[in-house]
Symmetry: D2
Subunit: 360 residues, 4 copies
């Protein structure tokens, strides 16, 4: 794979699969005026196909798309109906597994937000600044599966926030043990998602299937590309995942032990100076600072910090000594932007920028 | 100290210091119809003294005291003005340190909710079911300080909830390492406390001075009375403390390593069968079950479980294996009842029941 | 219909239809230890029938029923399967219309919380203190329809709260124009009800079909039984209905014009002294004060006042002069107790107490 | 006063008085990159003077000012210390009365957000699109008081939102009776403002002194400049004001009677086509649409619509027939932008644009 910072000569048409749901809407918002991509097709379930997007989608946030997008006809979520070479999948995991394979077979580059293929050994699980080079797996995937297209996934939303804080530290010092407790936003559960009677003035100390995803994906995200596979390092992650009455932004308390003694000052220095994978730095969705380190004792806070870097920065604070392991810190990031749609869009930018996409 | 399960022959008059504040109001509610105590005196700052209680206190919850209490004149918070032999201190820590000493010198038994004297070596820091025998320190305190009265403290609210879940396990298996992440209710900050603009739809990952209290008090609470002092065991506690938009109920995610391997099944069995210190079991404020273990994957929840046992039960759930240490669990309890006023009232009951109080 | 204050000689077996839903659960809670009724049967949809109640119902509030109730088998919602002479219907309006008729035909007295039959001319729409005498319609209903059983309905939850504040004033002064703006709790929408992403930190200025119900039912509730029908008076009601992020308790701002000039002082005097329909006063569910009038400028408040009188009292405050009409006031009451299940239970008590129920 | 659409030839230096508070912070945010104004001076209380702005202000929202502003020294709120010819007053009403007079005497044009001088007969109370011509009062004010400067005020936040919806209708049809019920956001109470324990999961049906302001200011806002005074029309306003757990955005339910019959269709047509006062249309803070009329049954909603037009648009919905008067509608707007700081900034733009400001 050769690398080039240059944008595509002309805008590349893209489709969003599952465009009417919560994550689909975030894709639409992020792609509506994208400098490299032309939001050409909005695909959704049979029930929505044929309707205008404005009629099919109950728009969940304040910043509505313009009339041009609201008026566009929704098409079926079918490889035969979709012409764009790049498709973003906001499909629910119940549908995503087979559908994404069908699109990849049909020659599409599928940028998926679903969990289904994340842990497949030949599918890149990518956060550009952390492991952009894992896109190299795509060649193996195409070769092995005989596909012209391919599947690239982003990580689980809480795994993404945690990985952004952990990656610089792992690269510098080597993680050994990580204890995570999350306080996750409502938008992470989609729409209609969490009933208000369950969460108003309450905390739910459980999110189905979240802890295994969080614990498992971090190993692959922070692993190294060795030939045709990802070699995972031997650190261990333990987690508690909780739902809290916050709209957007997952907050994670992390307690971290390294392979050698690390002080808070050393950790802060590494976090502040981290730029991440070079190929990711000038992409349209790349924030000025992928990691923001705050000094105030009471930050990050989801409502106040979630939109830093357009929702693509992760904010870290309270980096301090731990009485058992090495350090403790708190990380917070936007779960539907950095941790979902925005992450996939940035993955697509990296793919295009790296020349991996051959768009005849 | 001799022990007796018998109630006092007649109701003992008691006073509440700081009766107009949030914790003071909870004391008033719990003492208004107490079978052993007569709520005889309501003391507060100079500013309130002389007013009726109804005028001086902005009542924060729905269950208002009756006219008899609302109409009573507030007295000054001065040992000379207070006649009751037992005083409950809901004073703020800025005032509690000196005031409680003055009352103890004047022969009063001070049941304190303030942090000031909790870690004094000769002051009992007591949760009846856990370490009711620590009241034995009171003799040493009186002897050493030459007091006729004395000070008995309850623990910090989050330390109380954590201790209730940890004590049975420590007694059975021996704690080695404990990682705690709390999600604490607004009422823990008193009134006016947390501004709504800071916490609505938000999480604040910081509570001033809370983590040291939580980490330190657990050692004393779970220590053993050896002669005239508390011998602390050698486990280590690490914590993150967070404020969440919940009215009452601190939720704590705990990850626990023991001196030997312990399975979730072993832990659940111990938690379910725990009754705690014998002298605490038939006190008026003792709940039928001090610890409730729930099987559902999504419990405990503060809004739904906080009033179990009249706010005196702590609910535990999600007891499960940990990939790094031994087990993980979630504990939740009422921070202003079990973790504050209710805890002090039960301490007073234990004192009376144990015969430690000589009421001439 | 003869009247008697005497309780039934032995407990009357009752059934709850739709026992697993949100309102059904409130019925179960209120009937679990009722002095006159024996909660004998729990009926629900085919999907739940045969399961234990504990397995079929996801219990929504903290105060779980005891093991005896949780372990009982749910039966089908079928007149042939239900033996109790009194059935409480918590059925959804999509099912209630036909089902309630079937039960009434089969000889059951149906106490319904559904909207379907409320405005049928021969169906009593009853709030005991306001129009308990409307139960007299039941004779006409049975005669006309040839039923041995019958249907008695309670009112819409917001209509109930409004009616409790308006009835004494209407009786004393005669309503002419009423402008209502409601701020309604989440529990009014049932479960799962309002998605949290729609309501957290938000207000929704619309509740489907609520304004017509509120405006229409008040006329029947405050009308007079004349022979075999309800004669409605000629006042007019205009409303705005809003959903707010509150768990329980509908708050209603009312601006009221009467047939003659009325001062706030006159209105307060009437509201404070109102006792309502005599037959309702000593029923088990009757609160000591059906209407509580508060003097503080900032009451009633749902979170603080909703449980007054066990959720059966309505609290009124801010009674003040209006610059256009006569007076303004704020009323607040518990929407799932007084405004739903509790209202139906009290209707049943009134039926039994009045001797209208012939229970062979 | 002559009118000119032309911007100033060079940026005009401006000061913010009370820059560290909640409204002051909003002024700073809106002025930080203003095309016509240079945010030159930040003034606050003696306690803050001399500190850097970043140290003196606890920044309440996510979008922090840049380092240039955070690093600037706060100056005293004293006419002798302030050089800018235009000052924006975010002072609390306890300080604003005298301070604003002092600044006006010293030759400053004071754009005030405080209530103190709003109803002074010679002080313009201005919302540019509604009554921009009321700035004409300034000449009378200067003449009468012998000032070189002057005071121009914006309206109370809820009065502003109501006025935006009512003005077009009043201009077209003539208001007769208006019933308003507000549901107001927390930011309207400033910081620390409403304690979270008062408002979480709750509604407070009272805001001190708000109803008189709302009822009174509408008369002046919708009045006509006749010579040297404002002639108020004879409609009457009645209101209920409530606090709800919403961050930003006041929602108002309005029921409206006109001097002649008006249908919802007529009202919608007028609202949709309204552009307002010509001089206001091309100002930098003027939104593309001052009024947005939504067709969905459940809009406007504060969390979703509050930032329309950068917080300067007011959104109206649910325009429908009323059974007593003519129409009902719901209006919602941003209370700290359109209803406070943004309104004042736009007033200053109108002053500058109109040539009323002589800046030697």
């Amino acid at each position: 794979m050769t690398r080039s910072a240059s944008p595509p000569r002309k805008k590349i048409p893209v489709a969003v699969l599952g465009a009417t749901g919560a994550v689909g809407q975030t894709f639409v918002r992020l792609l509506a005026n994208h400098p490299w991509f032309e939001l050409a097709e909005l695909a959704a379930s049979e029930r929505s196909a044929g309707k205008s997007y404005g009629d099919a989608a109950r728009w969940l946030e304040g910043d509505r798309p313009d009339a041009r997008i609201l008026g566009r006809a929704v098409i079926a979520c079918d490889p035969a109906a979709v012409k764009s070479p790049i498709v973003f999948s906001a499909l629910d995991s119940s549908a995503a597994g087979d559908a994404e394979v069908a699109f990849a077979k049909a020659g599409k580059l599928v940028l998926s937000n679903a969990k289904n293929h994340r842990m497949d050994p030949d599918v890149p699980l990518v956060i550009p600044e952390i492991n952009g080079d894992h896109l190299g797996l795509l060649e193996e995937q195409r070769r092995k599966r005989g596909w012209k297209g391919g599947i690239v996934t982003n990580a689980n939303c809480s795994a993404t926030v945690a990985a952004m804080a952990l990656a610089p530290l792992h690269q510098a010092f080597g993680l050994k043990q990580v204890f995570l407790t999350t306080m996750q936003a409502l938008s992470g559960a989609g729409y209609p998602g969490v009933p208000s009677l369950d969460i108003i003035g309450n905390v739910i100390p459980y999110i189905a299937d979240e802890e295994p995803k969080l614990e498992r994906e971090l190993g692959k995200l922070l692993g190294a590309l060795r030939g045709n596979e990802i070699a995972e390092d031997d650190f261990v992650v333990s987690s508690h995942t909780n739902r809290v009455p916050v709209e957007h932004g997952h907050t994670i308390c992390a307690t971290i032990g390294f392979k050698k003694r690390v002080t808070p000052e050393q950790a802060i220095k590494v976090l502040r100076s981290w730029k991440g994978y070079g190929g990711a730095q000038n992409l349209p969705s790349a924030p000025a600072e992928p990691l923001i380190v705050r000094d105030e004792p009471d930050r990050p806070q989801p409502r106040r910090d979630v939109n830093e870097g357009g929702g693509m920065s992760v904010t870290v604070g309270r980096v301090r000594r731990d009485p058992i392991l090495d350090i403790r810190l708190v990380a917070m990031g936007h779960n539907t932007v950095r941790g979902a749609a925005g992450g996939s869009v940035m993955n697509a930018e990296l793919l295009v920028s790296s020349g991996a996409v051959n768009l005849a």
